[in-house]
Structure formats: C-alpha cells, structure tokens
Subunit: 428 residues, 2 copies
C-alpha cells in the first residue's frame, strides 16, 4: 500500500478523487477534521473550466486559469495531494486502485466530473473535440489559428471557405461563448494580419438540436443572446441536429456543410465512476445518489458534482460549478460531523444562484435570483463573478489585465500555434 | 508556384527564412523598399529566446514571450508571412522548397538560427533536451515539476534523491540561468507543497567542461556568478566534461550521477542551411559568409544570425540576439539600397553592447561597454533591458507583473504539467 505513514495512525482516511470544484471544496471542508485526507488527481492543476473557452480562442494563457492543486491546499496540514490516475475501486478491500499503487480509504468522495458525450458516435471525438481540459483548449486554439494559416496558403476559394468555416455543435452556454469568441477572433483580432484572405469573412455556425439556444435560461434571454450572436455575424441554426462529423465537413439538418473546424459543445457524459463502483447509472453515465450524496447501500462512498445524478425536491441539480462546490462542501461537512461523532445532518439542498453566459467581449445574459440581465450590464456582472471565483490574486490581476487590454485593442494575447509536443522526457 | 499574385508584378522578391531576431529585423529594414518580401517560418510566432528559461521553470507563460509573426508585421504592406517548413533550396531555379510548395526568390535571406549540439551524441537529445523553442520549454517545465510529483510518491530515499537531482550541462548564460531558476523553484516556490519530500533538499548540479562558468565574460564576473550560485545551493563543477547521458543518470568527470533531469545547455549547431546550399560549413554547422554576409560566390543569398560564421576585424561575432538583429538590419538595408540602385554599402560591422546573465531573482552579472555589473544592480539592468526588447506593451506589462509578484511571494505562476498532447485535429 502506498503512503504507509498514514496507516500507522488511527485517524480515519478520507480519499477524494478529483481536484475540480467539488473535490477541492470537499477537501477544504475537512480542514479542521481529525482525519487524513488524500486528494488524487491525474492533473497537477485545478482548472477553472468556465474560462476554458477563452484559452481556446487565444484570449488567455493556460496558467491564467489553472493553479497547482497542492499549492491551493499547501497550508492544510491534514491533506496530501497525489498526482496519479485512478484505474478502479475495490469496495470490498476499501481501496482505490491508481497508476502508482493502491490507496486504502475509510471514506471515499468521487468528484471526477464529466467528459464529452457523442451520443453513440465516439468516432466523432477525433474531429469534433470538446472543451474540458487545458489540453483540449490549447489543441483547439492551435487548430483554429492553423485554419487561417492554411487558408492563406490555399489556392482556391472553396478550400479557403471550408478552412474558414467553424461549426460549433450545441447551443448551451459553452457553445454560445465559443461562437461569440471565434466571431470576434475572426472579425476583429485577425483583421489586418493576412494578405490573401479576409478573416472577417469567416463563417461561424452554431447548431442546436433543440428549439432555442440556452435552454436552461428564460426564453427572452435566449432570444437576446441569439440576436447578439447574429449581430456578430454568427449563423445560428436551431432545430438542427448533427447527423455526421467528418474531418472536412459536418452534416446537419439534411445539409452537408464543408468545415475545417468542429467544436463539440453538445453534451457531457460522466466519467466512469459507475463502472468502478459497479452500480447503475443514468443515460449520461451519472450515478444516482442518496439524499446525502452517498452511493445507495454504501454510506462511506459519495459521488458529487457532474458525476452524480442528484435530485432535490424533485428537480435535477444542474451540472454546473456552483452545484459541484455546494456538494463538495456538504459531503466534507457531513464527514467531519460523522468523524467527530456528531448527530446526522439533513439531506443535501441545492441553492440556485442563477446562470450566466457571455457573448463576445461586452454582452452577456444571466439570471440572478429573479433578476434578468442582458447586454453590457450582464457582461459586467459576469466579469466580476468570474474574477471573484478565480484562484489567487495573481490570476485575478492577470485575467483582468488581459481583458482590459483585449477590450481596448481587440487583440488577443495568446495566439500561439504549438505543435504536437514530442514525447515526454525519459521516454515516459 | 505558390503566391502567384506576386509574380505578376515586376518588383523583386526577397524571401526571408526564419522569423527570429535576424529575420524580423531584415524584413523590417525592407519596409520602404520597392520589393515584395515573403517571410517563411515553421512557427506562427516569434519567440523571445532569452527568457525561455523562465517558461521552462514555470515563472512565465509561453504567450508572455511569444507573439505572432504576422501580427508584428501586420502594418508592413510589402510583407507577407507564410507558415511553412522549408525543406531545401534550389539555387539554379532560385526557389525555396517548402512544405506548401516552391517560392521563387530574387534575393534570399537565411535566418534559421541554431539548434542543440550534442557533439557526436545525437541520442542524448532524447534524455537531455535543450532550450530553443516554446515546446522545449513547456516540455522541460512539465518534466521538472513531474520529478517532484514522482518523488512524493516514491517509496525509497535513493529514488527520491535521483528524482530530485537536476543536472544542467554547460556553464554559459543559459546554463547559469537555468541552474539559478531551478534552485529557486525547489528551495522557495515548492517549499510547503509536499508532505513526503523536502523540495529544498533537491540537488542542482551545473557541469562545465571548461575552467570556469560564463567563458564569454571577464573572469571576475564568472567568479561572482559562481559564488551566487553556490550561495543558492547549486553544486558547480567546472573542468567536468559529460561522457554519457542516460534516462536516469549522467556520467561526468569519471563519476556516475543518478539524476531524473538533464538539461542541455552545452552547445549549439546551426540549422541545416549549409546542406540546403551545398556550401562548406564550420564545426558548428555555420556557413562562413563574405564581409557583406552573402554566401561566397552567390551575391543574392545571405546567411545571418546563428546560422552564419561571421568574422569582423579578425574576431568571430558571437551567436547572440543583438548580433542577429544587427545582421538582419544590415542585410535589409544592403538589399534596399541595391534594389533602389544606390551605391554599395561598406561591409558588416558588429557593435558589441556587452553581455548579461542572471542568477535567480535578484542577482545578475554583465558587461556594458567597459562597465562591469554584478549583484542587484546587474539584475535591475538585466530586467530593464529584457523588458525593453520584448515585443508589445501587453507582454512587457505581463512580464513585469509576473516578476514583481514572483519577487514578492517567491511563487511562480505557471506551474502546469501538461501531458503529451493528442495528435492535432483532423489527423494532421
């Protein structure tokens, strides 16, 4: 067994898998608890996913929105952070199997998030990547920028047009934000830089199978966001389901659209927690959990965040960052209480603070309680909220500066095409 | 032929290969010349190499020190920038062969720089990477940070010690700067973040085959830099030649040193310009050029920067950024003059402004004319110079902020381990 020193003590051991919004909050909520906490993640960094689209569109650098997990938790003495990939769970032995050995647990919190869902077409992932990790964002960034470079070199207009066609599949917040950001990149940032193409003539298509964009928002705000996108030159097509994704085209609503870039923002699927636990899951791979977020029949194992299917008062809890954080805090407090021998705490409740989606650099829609926001006011609110939740003063300052600069100049600071990296050193 | 539109005109065509310090200056010097300039580079960005070591040691993000070449030249109407890899040169046809077709030239400026030189051991490149490109820096960064992560997981002290041993080969400016930066990363930045290892106990070795560090500097400054490194806990070994590099050790001066990381800063070799041109080259692969930097016998082809072996008044011109910029400016002006039908201009002369090398975040040594700088004064001067030469107000501001923050907190903002990226989209 790994980390032998912790076993010498009699303190219970809480293993948290995943250093996203949920996992971090759970670990923090256990700060003053007499337990040893082990947080395992396959990445060394916590990534602020709501701003990933800005990395993918060259506005921010990866390090602006990511921070080492062990740095975030460095002052919390009862936590250790392990960089390992989880490969399975042995519930009989109460152990997590990782790439660097097994870790025994007394309590287990699974906060592994979600990945993209291609609705039965996993082969589309190769040509239509989604946006969940830093690597996804830098890959999409390089790809988008490379399309303009190749269009500049292309000899015929059809090829140029295809290379300069960007299709975003899925009209939720991520799709809306990507479409707006690519439109700005093409229409404004790249304006004067080419000699044989006009980047401003790029086609940006946003395809949504449902009747309107931003289904989670009131319909007035959907219309408002759609109008803003259309004003930026985005071709918004609702009730348009994608039937095929290829490396140079997408088929949707019976039409073949030649396109050099497809970005997938249509659906997410929970990471394989249900398989690890050998428990049932819903259509999106999420584990239905008990009212205290434990796995039914196993009170020592919890699933939180995007990996869990949680219902509060008959309403499903959405897969958003604030929900994951609330679940993390709840389970952390529940365990702290249980370990201290306190009385049981009531079931998890979800507090919905609203939702926000931004369209380009000065427009956003959102709901905050009963308030409806749209336009620049929405954008200002969106900015403040996102800056507030970023980890660390440095990141806040750098992101604000990048935005101010970008706002003033229409430029983007991170227009780097970085090739496929060579294999890591030492052949590993 | 590519870029057919340029051929329709009668204006002479100047092809510049490479968007580094030399190539960019050459293109800029041709701004008001009645010629079409084509700058070809395999990267979309100009990289400020003197600060690459700060990316490799997690202090700066790639986008802080890199900028799209076509953005830098966007206002210069007679330049176009092509993202292509040069594969050869046909001097009979006067054409450059690239990954996207042939480009005809009337005048050719080769500014392709240099890569690492392993002195007959190319196999060492796999385990002992050097630092020339953004990708090198992010790869070394991930590797260094991963060593501490693996040491945290390691079960025995010998393995921990090996993983936490960092060997830098070569005591020139890059080697000295890397050694200082890794020492600070280990001793200060990572201080509180681990539970099973003490990063401050890492071994950092700087190996130099020659009698002292910084051979290009006066020996008093070499001693001063060495003392500063030793005070930071760097094990400096001069007169110690490396005889073997392996994935878990390095052999030097008859001793086998177990080490998880080897960084190569020992020598550079010019890119394959001499092979393309089928002309002689010196031991470092550089093309000996005529006093006007043209290839002997071919007055229309020029080699500048690290790819050229230039002698001025019997002294070799060093392979540093200011020399490359001066050569670029010279050849640009020479061609502008020739195309305008002016009289010949005198041979290239090199103006040596001095040299600088920094040791950690508050010490540098340098020469500026007859002045010798050492300590904090040197560092302050070094900072001002480097900030001044960065491209763009945004980059200057971001780098200054990162430095101030780092100076105040000992932290580093870009501690990201980013895995091997998946293959680029569309299978390319």
């Amino acid at each position: 067994m790994l980390v032998a020193h912790s076993e010498a003590t009699r303190r219970p051991k809480v293993v948290v898998v995943g250093g996203g919004f949920g996992g971090l909050e759970a670990a923090k909520a256990l700060a003053s608890c007499k337990a040893d906490v082990i947080l395992v993640d396959e990445n060394n960094h916590h990534c602020f996913q709501p701003l990933l689209y800005q990395v993918a569109t060259a506005a921010l650098s990866p390090a602006d929105i990511a921070w080492p997990i062990r740095f975030i938790l460095r002052h919390q003495k009862n936590v250790e952070v392990l960089l390992s990939r989880v490969e399975g769970i042995d519930r009989q032995l109460k152990a997590v199997k990782t790439s660097s050995g097994e870790i025994a647990y007394d309590y287990l919190i699974l906060a592994t998030g979600a990945t993209h869902h291609y609705f039965g077409h996993p082969e589309w992932s190769r040509v239509a990547p989604g946006l969940k990790k830093i690597e996804d964002a830098t890959r999409i960034r390089s790809h988008i920028l490379r399309q303009f470079e190749e269009a500049e070199l292309a000899k015929d207009e059809a090829t140029q047009h295809r290379l300069m066609t960007f299709v975003i599949v899925g009209g939720g917040a991520t799709g809306v934000e990507m479409a707006g950001a690519i439109a700005e990149l093409a229409r404004q940032t790249l304006g004067k830089d080419f000699r044989h193409i006009r980047p401003s003539e790029a086609s940006i298509l946003l395809l949504e199978a449902g009747p309107r964009l931003l289904l989670a928002f009131p319909s007035a705000l959907s219309s408002s966001a759609e109008r803003a996108l259309v004003a930026m030159g985005v071709d918004v097509r609702t009730r348009t389901a994608v039937t095929s994704c290829n490396h140079d085209s997408v088929e949707a609503g019976g039409t073949l659209i030649p396109a050099g870039t497809i970005v997938w923002a249509a659906g997410v699927k929970a990471s394989p927690v249900a398989d690890w636990l050998e428990v049932p899951h819903d259509r999106s791979g999420r584990v239905p959990v008990a009212p205290d977020l434990s796995v039914p029949g196993d009170p020592d194992v919890f699933v939180i965040g995007d990996a869990a299917a949680v219902t509060v008062n008959g309403e499903p809890v959405p897969g958003v960052a604030p929900a994951a954080k609330q679940m993390g805090r709840y389970v952390g407090q529940l365990l702290a209480n249980r370990i201290a021998g306190g009385k049981r705490i009531p079931p998890f409740t979800y507090r919905d603070y609203g939702a926000l989606a931004t369209v380009g650099r000065k427009f956003a829609v959102g709901t905050v309680g009963r308030l409806r926001l749209s336009g620049f006011t929405g954008w200002a609110f969106w900015s403040v909220v996102h800056i507030y939740y970023l980890v660390g003063a440095r990141n806040r300052l750098l992101v604000v500066l990048n935005w101010v600069w970008s706002y003033a100049t229409f430029q983007r600071g991170a227009r780097l095409i970085i090739g496929t990296e060579p294999p890591p050193m030492n052949g590993r």
